[in-house]
Symmetry: C2
Subunit: 135 residues, 2 copies
DNA sequence: CGTTATTCCTATCGGATTAGTAGATTTTAA
DNA sequence: TTAAAATCTACTAATCCGATAGGAATAACG
């Protein structure tokens, strides 16, 4: 299940991408428009800033704005940042690999094989979708 | 992320499918072989029994066995039973649909569109994979 | 300079979920 | 009648999630 964090993050990005100018938009404006708890959204936007997707301006008339054009914001990056690994099990994760502590040999593991296939499919979608495709 | 419940359930099913006869196998045998907490596995097998995938025999020499042939045990059923909805958001779930309380119109929602695509892909995999494919 | 509006940061909290445990009950084979 | 197994109910510890609180830093503006 998609966490609210991810969902809210996506909605905020969409909201920003729909703006006509890319002047800073205040958190409060986004949270009101999208029905999101302001404080929660605050922390989400902060993490989106840290990965270079959003820029921010402090102080009066400050706010958040897209740092890249929507075409260049890949869903795989957003999903990984907010939701975590795209893989359903750590042992098939490309960016967050971890060996299972059960399972002596993962090349023989049926679950492993299945989940590789799911990951490849999902990743394929997220790699080929940008923020622009959500609008 | 796949829950341990699902992972253990899948591994137990695979273990049972690999048996030569389909005489009952005791929980303790499965749990030892697959490194799974016996009591936890107990509850998992119970739910797999309730959906008609496993049969059980009580008492001495009792245990669990497959009720259908591995080809007839679809991953979509197992996943839905153990892991819950396949969709990442309730508003795109076929079997567990729920409207979002934010989001006035889901036909206009970018997240919705994206998640439909992911669901279709994942579902396609799980519908076309059976337990037999995991072996 | 001082006030105000904003992001930034840290800490905390309640509730839900997950993974696992304990123990008693029922059923069956031998 | 005994032992071995599934079944059932209840509980617990740990973790995560969504949200909140409060203050610090920063910038605009009069």
């Amino acid at each position: 299940m998609l966490s609210k964090k991810t969902k809210y993050g996506l909605k905020a990005l969409i909201f920003l991408a729909r703006q006509e100018s890319n002047a800073p938009v205040q958190i409060s404006a986004i949270s009101k428009s999208e029905n999101i708890s302001q404080k929660f959204l605050e922390s989400i936007l902060l993490t989106l800033r840290k990965i270079g997707v959003l820029g921010s301006k402090k102080g009066k008339n400050g706010g958040y704005y897209l740092l890249k054009s929507p075409e260049d914001i890949k869903m795989s990056l957003v999903m990984r940042t907010l939701e975590g690994p795209i893989a359903m099990v750590p042992c098939v994760s490309l960016n967050f690999y971890e060996k299972c502590d059960d399972c002596p040999d993962e090349t023989l593991c049926g679950v492993h094989k299945l989940m590789i296939e799911v990951r490849d499919n999902t990743l394929n979608i997220f790699n080929n979708k940008s923020l622009a495709d959500l609008i």
